[in-house]
C-alpha cells in the first residue's frame, strides 16, 4: 500500500514537456503526463466506487448524531431537538440494558475462548494426514456447514434438541422416562450456542491455518528429525512458531469484533425462557430500533458498540506490534 510513486523516467518526460500553463499544471508537475493519462480510465472505473462508499458507508456516519438527539420521525435527523447524553445514560443506568452489554461480552468472549483454538487443532491434525483422499474428504465435509444459513442451522438445532419432538429427547425419554428442556435452560442454551458456532465455522476457519502450514519449509523438519526430534517436538518447536503470525493476526481481528456478535445466530436460537442470558446488543438494536422505532436509543447502543470495537482493534494491534506482529 505504498503511495503512488512517479517513476524517475516519467519525471524526466515531464521536464522535457513544454510547460503549458493550465489549471492542472501542478498535477502534471507532481505526477507527470504519462501517469495522469494512465489514471484517466482508472478514475472512470473508480468514481462509482467512491460514490458507493460516500453514500452507503460514510454518509450514514453523520446519522450517528441522532444518538445525541430526541429523534422525531416528522422532524427528521437535523430538525429533532438535542438530547445530550440522555440515551447513553439510559444504557448505563438501566440494569436491563447493562445486562445486554454484559451478555454480548460474555457470549462473544466464550466463543473466542472455545472457538478460536479448535480450527488450529483441526488444521494441525489435518496436516498430519498422509493419505490425500482422506484429507480431501474430511476437508470437503468440514467446510460444508459454513455454507448453510443460520436459519438452517437453527432448524437443525431445534429438530435435535426440542423438548417435545427433538431427536435427542426421544432417546432420553426412552432411557430415563423424562425429557430435558435443553433450549430453555440457561446453561445448556449457552452450551448449544457455543457448539453450534463451532460446528458451523471451525472447518472453514481452519483453511487459513492449513495455508500457513503448507508454506513451512520442509527442510526444517528433516533437519529436526536428524537431530532426533520426534513428531510432537517438531510440532511444538517448528510448526507452532511458524504459524504464530497467522494466529496473532486472526486473534486481533476476532477481538476487534468482540462487540458485534452476529445477529443471526442469537436470533434464530433465542427464546423467551433464556432471554436473560441471550439478549445481546445486535438483537436489542433490532427490537427497539426497527420494531419499536426508538431510533435514538438504538443508535446510541450501536455507536457504543462501534466505538468499543474500534478501541479493541487499536489496542489489540498495539499489543501485537509490541511483539512485532501488528496488522498495520
Amino acid at each position: 500500500m505504498s503511495e503512488a510513486n512517479p517513476s524517475s523516467t516519467s519525471a524526466m518526460i515531464n521536464q522535457k514537456a513544454s510547460p503549458v500553463k493550465t489549471k492542472s499544471n501542478w498535477l502534471v508537475r507532481k505526477y507527470g503526463k504519462r501517469v495522469l493519462k494512465q489514471n484517466i480510465p482508472l478514475y472512470i472505473m473508480f468514481v462509482p466506487v467512491i460514490l458507493f462508499y460516500l453514500i452507503f458507508k460514510y454518509y450514514p456516519m453523520t446519522g450517528l448524531v441522532i444518538a445525541f438527539k430526541k429523534y422525531s420521525f416528522i422532524k427528521g435527523i437535523w430538525g429533532s431537538p438535542w438530547a445530550g447524553l440522555d440515551s447513553f445514560k439510559m444504557i448505563f443506568q438501566t440494569k436491563q440494558n447493562f445486562n445486554i452489554i454484559w451478555n454480548t461480552l460474555k457470549l462473544s468472549g466464550l466463543s473466542i475462548i472455545i472457538g478460536f483454538p479448535i480450527p488450529i487443532i483441526l488444521a494441525l491434525l489435518l496436516n498430519e494426514v498422509r493419505k490425500l483422499q482422506i484429507k480431501r474428504l474430511v476437508q470437503t465435509l468440514v467446510y460444508l456447514p459454513h455454507f448453510l444459513n443460520w436459519v438452517i442451522v437453527g432448524g437443525i438445532v431445534v429438530t435435535v434438541f426440542s423438548q417435545s419432538t427433538g431427536t435427542l429427547n426421544h432417546v432420553i425419554e426412552k432411557m430415563f422416562g423424562e425429557s430435558y428442556p435443553f433450549l430453555y435452560k440457561e446453561f445448556s442454551w449457552i452450551t448449544i450456542y457455543l457448539t453450534s458456532g463451532v460446528w458451523k465455522e471451525a472447518g472453514w476457519n481452519a483453511i487459513i491455518y492449513l495455508a500457513a502450514l503448507t508454506a513451512i519449509d520442509q527442510s526444517l523438519y528433516e533437519a529436526a528429525s536428524i537431530d532426533g526430534a520426534n513428531r510432537w517436538q517438531q510440532t511444538i518447536r517448528i510448526t507452532l512458531p511458524a504459524i504464530t503470525p497467522t494466529i496473532i493476526i486472526l486473534l486481533i481481528l476476532k477481538i476487534g469484533h468482540l462487540m458485534e456478535l452476529g445477529f443471526d445466530q442469537v436470533y434464530v436460537l433465542q427464546n423467551n425462557a433464556v432471554l436473560e442470558v441471550s439478549e445481546v446488543i445486535s438483537t436489542f438494536i433490532y427490537k427497539i430500533g426497527i420494531q419499536q422505532a426508538n431510533f435514538s436509543l438504538a443508535t446510541a447502543m450501536g455507536l457504543f458498540e462501534s466505538l468499543v470495537g474500534l478501541i479493541l482493534v487499536l489496542s489489540a494491534n498495539r499489543i501485537a506490534r509490541h511483539f512485532g506482529q501488528g496488522l498495520w
Binding site: A4, L36, L42, F46, V49, G63, I134, G154, L303
Partner: protein, 291 residues
C-alpha cells in the same frame, strides 16, 4: 520413511477422529433429509435416524400446496442472481484501480475502505438512509448497501497485483487500450478467483436473512430464509391446512414440514457445492497469501 509403533497408532487414531468430525458435519443434514421423507407416525415416535422410515412425501406436498414456497424460491433466485452480478461488477471496478501502483491516491482510498471495516455507522443510520432513498420493500435495499465486501475486494486486489506486469506493458505497446486490457486479458486470467468470489457473494445473497427481515415487509417479496424461519417459529401453516385440507393436515406433523422446508433451502447449495469447492478453497488461499 519408517514409522515407529507410536506414530502408527497416532496416524490411525487421527484418521478415525477426523472422519468422525467430518461425518458430524454431514449427519445432521442427512437426519433432516430422512425426516422430511418419513411418515407421520415414524416422526412422532422418534424412530427416524439417518434413513427415511415409511417413505412419505406428505411434508413436501403440504409445503408446496399451502405455503408461498415457489414464489419465495423465485424471489431468492432473483435476489441472488442480480445481487451477485452487481457485487462482481463493483468489486472489479474497485479492485483493478487499487491494484495499480500508479493509481493516484491509492493508499488513501485503501485506508478509507479498510476503515469502514473497523468503524461503521451501524444498523439504524443505514436503515434511515435506505428509508430516505425510498428503498424499503424493494430489493435495492438488499443489493445497494452491500455492493462491495472489503474482504473480497482485498482478495481480488491481491490477485490483480500478482499478474505479471510485462503482460500489461506488452499489450500497451501493441496499442491495447486500458478497457480492452481489462476485458480481454486481465479478467480471463482471473477466472478462478472470480468464480470463488461469485460463490461467496452468491451464498451470501441466497442465505440473506437479517436484511430481508429488516427491509422487506411485503410478504410476496420475502425469500426462502425468512419463510423457513417463520415456519420453524410458528405453526400457522398447519392451522391453515387444517381448515382447507383436513386430509393432508391429518397426514403431516409440523416437524415433517419444517424438515421439508429446510431441505428445499439447503438442496440447491448442496448441489452446486461439490462443483465449486475447488474454486473457493483457491480463493481463500489467495487472500491468505499476504495475511
Amino acid at each position: 520413511m519408517k514409522h515407529t509403533q507410536g506414530e502408527k497408532l497416532f496416524y490411525n487414531l487421527n484418521y478415525i477422529f477426523l472422519l468422525i468430525i467430518g461425518l458430524s458435519c454431514l449427519l445432521p443434514i442427512v437426519h433432516i433429509f430422512a425426516m422430511s421423507l418419513s411418515d407421520k407416525h415414524a416422526l412422532m415416535s422418534g424412530t427416524v435416524s439417518f434413513w427415511p422410515v415409511d417413505f412419505s412425501l406428505d411434508g413436501y406436498k403440504a409445503l408446496f400446496k399451502e405455503s408461498p414456497i415457489v414464489q419465495d424460491f423465485t424471489n431468492s433466485l432473483i435476489i441472488t442472481v442480480v445481487g451477485t452480478f452487481l457485487n462482481m461488477v463493483f468489486t472489479i471496478l474497485a479492485a483493478y484501480p487499487l491494484s495499480k501502483r500508479y493509481f493516484i491516491g491509492r493508499s488513501f482510498y485503501s485506508f478509507a475502505i479498510i476503515f469502514t471495516l473497523i468503524f461503521s455507522a451501524g444498523l439504524i443510520p443505514t436503515y434511515l438512509l435506505v428509508q430516505k432513498l425510498g428503498l424499503i420493500n424493494s430489493y435495492g435495499a438488499l443489493w445497494l448497501p452491500g455492493l462491495i465486501t472489503v474482504y473480497n475486494l482485498l482478495v481480488l486486489r491481491t490477485f490483480f497485483e500478482g499478474l505479471p506486469e510485462e503482460l500489461e506493458e506488452a499489450s500497451r505497446i501493441d496499442g491495447c487500450s486500458e478497457w480492452r486490457l481489462i476485458i480481454q486479458i486481465v479478467l480471463p486470467l482471473s477466472l478462478p478467483v472470480l468464480a470463488a468470489l461469485t460463490l461467496f457473494y452468491g451464498v451470501g445473497h441466497w442465505n440473506a436473512f437479517v436484511n430481508v427481515l429488516i427491509y422487506i415487509n411485503d410478504s410476496s417479496k420475502l425469500n426462502l430464509a425468512v419463510l423457513v424461519q417463520q415456519m420453524i417459529q410458528n405453526q400457522s401453516l398447519l392451522q391453515e391446512l387444517t381448515n382447507t385440507q383436513p386430509e393432508l393436515a391429518a397426514a403431516i406433523t409440523p416437524e415433517g414440514v419444517k424438515a421439508a422446508g429446510i431441505i428445499v433451502i439447503t438442496l440447491p447449495m448442496l448441489i452446486v457445492y461439490p462443483f465449486l469447492q475447488r474454486f473457493f478453497v483457491k480463493g481463500v488461499l489467495i487472500g491468505a497469501v499476504k495475511g
